[in-house]
């Protein structure tokens, strides 16, 4: 038996927020052909990840159910669904917009938080380590690449940029509250 959807759960302000992403309002054109989900390689592994359903929920303004779904974070952004949609729905771009709204509402996976913090600290999501330095030398390279890893001023620019946009606060460790 399906769950009953209550109109009292519809939050049209949330829908308006999603529609701020260019062409996100194309989800209103969806006629449920399911071309997106039937080709989705993630849905093949995890049927609970259903991009069509997620975009329908966004269109109905089902903010809480959508933002709190753990499956929101399963999309690999392969764009297969977006390419196949006969209605020109921007499936992936719209999903990414929904994710940013989840983040603004404090919903963030710890592992993603950690990756973001690596970029703030080192300027790289996958920073250098001792093993990699040895590997670099073994193939005849300098042990440090000519990126922010080598130029402190450049790392300073990246860190300043992140402070200006407030990204450092956005992904800061949360104070444990009981």
């Amino acid at each position: 038996m399906s769950d009953i959807i209550k109109t009292s759960d519809f939050d049209m302000e949330f829908r308006d927020e999603v529609f701020k992403e260019p062409d996100a309002d194309k989800i209103t054109l969806c006629f449920n052909c399911t071309g997106c989900t039937s080709g989705c390689p993630m849905a093949e592994q995890e049927p609970e990840y259903n991009i069509r359903k997620f975009l329908r929920m966004a269109n109905l303004g089902m903010k809480d159910a959508l933002l709190n779904s753990p499956y929101l974070w399963y999309c690999t952004t392969c764009y297969k669904c977006q390419e196949r949609c006969p209605q020109g729905v921007k499936n992936v771009d719209t999903l990414l917009k929904i994710r940013t709204i989840a983040i603004d509402n404090g919903i963030m996976l710890d592992n993603h938080r950690k990756v973001s913090q690596l970029v703030i600290k080192f300027g790289h999501a996958v920073p250098i380590n001792d093993d990699a330095k040895e590997k670099r030398k073994d193939v005849g390279l300098d042990d440090t690449p000519p990126t922010v890893h080598k130029f402190e001023d450049a790392l300073g620019e990246v860190q300043k940029l992140i402070k200006i946009t407030g990204f450092d606060e956005l992904v800061a460790d949360k104070e444990e509250t009981s």
């Binding site: 952004t77 392969c78 994710r99």
Partner: protein, 301 residues
Amino acid sequence: MSKLSFFLGCIAPNRYPGIEVATVKTLEKLGIELVDLKGASCCPAPGVFRSFDKITWLALASRNVTLSEEMGLDILTVCNGCFGSLVDANNIMKEDPGLKEEVNKILKEIGHEFKGTIEVRHIIEYLSQEVGPEKIKAAVTIPMGLNVALHYGCHLVKPSKERHLGSVENPRFFDELVEATGATSVDYEDKMACCGAGGGARTAVLDTSLQMVVNKLEHMKAAGVDCIIDACPFCHLQFDVGQTEVKKKFDKVYDIPVVHYSQLLGLAMGLPLSELGIDQNLIVNEEFNKKIERIRGGANE
């Protein structure tokens, strides 16, 4: 001689540096000079950053683009993720005056300004469009008689409205470059399927992400290939590290070597094995190494 700046990204220089060496040396042989893009950062990783905050993603990517604008050079990437992030950001900044103004206010604070004067290129589409398979074939000294499973990866060709590289279901341009090295690009089931790493999925839900790579590996194994050829260090990591993970987690063993196209080109141009870093992968397959040795004869070091 053509000249581009070389955007390294994270995973190539910091995990698989053989890709970095192979790219510089093989392109030099094709008359393309790569200049260091000094002080570049993470592209930043589109899966996490676009999911978190569009302005931070756009500003960091735009900063990387401005570094190359200041040198008056187009950017070359060897990674689908970096390509996706930088091309998409470059296009948005060129097409959306409002976002451009907002981001330029931020960039001004750190001494840069996005002007919109350069293009972002990926090694595969660049070689395909600017060099062509015939010229590559002519530069090959040791035709690599290998049967390979070619993995395009997603963000090289998609979204097609941004990439303009033709069919996303049955593209041919990368196959042509592989075949120019003397290798055979073997057809396999669901060839265009995603490796499972992108979108922050590998970070968020590793086991499910690995199930996707298992699917690909099963199809590649069924096709009986010597190795995988990719054009993205993140796909590369998913295939290489991923094979060790699926062995531990799901008791599945494949031992399929993982080779970036630049490394395949290096093999075919007779570059010393010691510079190509293929043996730095976690997956080392002795049978494959012997086959390379047989094909290259005296060219190994």
